[in-house]
Amino acid sequence: MFLLLPFDSLVVNLLGISITVLFTLLLVFIIVPAIFGVSFGIRKVYMKTLLKIFQWATLRIERGAKEKNHPLYKPYVNGIIAKEPTSLEEEIKEIRRSGSGKALDTPEFELSDIFYFCRKGIETIMDDEVTKRFSAEELESWNLLSRTNYNFQYISLRLTVLWGLGVLIRYCFLLPLRVALAFTGISLLVTGTTVVGYLPNGRCKDFLSKHVHLMCYRICVRALTAIITYHDRENRPRNGGICVANHTSPIDVIILASDGYYAMVGQIHGGLMGVIQRAMVKACPHVWFERSEVKDRHLVARRLTEHVQDKSKLPILIFPEGTCINNTSVMMFKKGSFEIGATVYPVAIKYDPQFGDAFWNSSKYGMVTYLLRMMTSWAIVCSVWYLPPMTRQPEEDAVQFANRVKSAIARQGGLVDLLWDGGLKREKVKDAFKEEQQKLYSKMIVGNHEDRSRS
């Protein structure tokens, strides 16, 4: 036993040195290309390999299920029940038509009208369009992460071994690497922007600040192993414009900012975020608000307008949904950013949830847990489409303009276009919508006579 001691320290030393060397080499190989914006294509190869493994895994699970003669649980993205897209009027008329032979154009009340509301209500209990947008999307095939598995009783031994290997790779190799990269990226950002901040205002400062920002975002992108495909880059936002995009997670910012220069908008936080924010604003003008100022809509609008009117300032990046949605749909855009009158550059971001779901369910996970989950996924794969710029037409108001932009983004990204407010994640729906339904129904039973007495 005592003979092992000198060998022990030797082995430990060798191990320590080799790990350090390995890590440094890796860091260099990743950071240096990030600085120059070059890519070796390693991540694409990684992605293809993973895809093949996932397909194999799915086949094994299906085989396992067939052996036991059970149907496999497959999630359906398009809803689980058949819903007819008819309006209130049409439905009620149909019910009445089958019930009586009376003339249908006289407005009146029938006992059978209740069937419409009853069925609609039960339909929404079984499957509604809104609440499912606030939880992570379900995957069709398993991606070797225990967090997304619904059919665990069919996993064979080989699959379990593969999964265990995956856990080892993700937690012991990828996670420390990514954390190290993230750390490097953030500290470089803070120090770089502070240093640039000491320079006198001018072209040199602008140039350096842009590149410092870009470089650090690129490092952060590699820290998450994000594999991003940019489309239509000729439509990238220009100075004096506003860039709007659909919001799925805080990572959206990093993804967009690593391909262009933006001015950020947001609330000043305390802690690490606050340090980063204060450093960034030294190098180039971002729009940060104090917590008290956020409620004052006029103040917000005024500062944003001032920013876009100055053509030397970078385009503003805004997420009009106001909260994170799970990337299967686009919800109501808040009209504030569309009232300013600047050119709007829409951007559609669509994540591929197979390699790692980027959606931040803020009611379930805090920021740190979320980042940990991100860093222990396989990768973050997404596509970014830059859409052609839009301006507000004279005959439309801010809300219509916002809806037009929203539809364009939804169409490009293949997302469902919803009119519901993302704020419904936390708040109750406004009574105005119920009143609309009641009004529609009232017309059906008493008609449109305006001269009838109303109490």
């Binding site: 059970h70 689980i80 058949a82 809104v130 919508f433 129904y441």
Partner: protein
């Protein structure tokens, strides 16, 4: 109901159950925006909760939803002596009847009808107009002259309505 349909509904049940205690409360239902804007939303939610209780478990959830299963052709010729399935025409009508009949005395009185009407039209119609609509409806349906609609009278009024289709929800496979 097939195995996968039950799994799907269970998955839905758990996603609505924010408290994660295996039962749903009224608040859990009210969190669904499309249900909250339904004028009869509260009545429908009530239908899930048995008398005097505030929580419904998965079994109760499924029992209530079972009323809306489409009627299969091969079921019609089934065992006539057994208990009636929950999704029979009669039980579907009974479900709707219970939405009107708040005090569960098996009669829809004028007041109960007025209450439901008021829920459905909001503030858009005056009390007098609503009253006359209720009176006319009761007059047309009432056959035994008690100024209320019993279940049998209810069924008679709706005998031609395609209840099977209008009160059924199909699953996508």
């Amino acid at each position: 109901v097939s195995h996968s349909q039950i799994t799907r509904l269970y998955s839905r049940f758990t996603s609505l159950d924010k408290g994660e205690n295996g039962t749903l409360s009224r608040e859990d239902f009210q969190r669904i925006p499309e249900l909250a804007i339904n004028p009869l939303g509260d009545r429908i939610i009530n239908a899930f909760f048995p008398e005097g209780e505030d929580q419904v478990n998965f079994r109760g959830f499924m029992r209530t939803l079972a009323h809306f299963r489409p009627i299969e052709d091969n079921e019609k010729s089934k065992d006539q002596n057994g208990p009636e399935p929950l999704n029979s025409r009669s039980n579907k009508l009974h479900f709707a009847f219970r939405l009107y009949d708040l005090d569960k005395d098996d009669k829809i009185s004028r007041d109960e009808l007025l209450q439901v009407l008021r829920m459905m039209v909001g503030v858009n119609i005056s009390d007098e107009q609503l009253g006359s609509i209720a009176d006319r409806t009761i007059q047309e349906a009432d056959q035994d002259g008690d100024s209320a609609i019993s279940f049998a009278e209810f069924v008679k009024v709706l005998e031609k309505v395609d209840v099977e289709q209008k009160m059924s929800i199909r699953f996508l496979h």
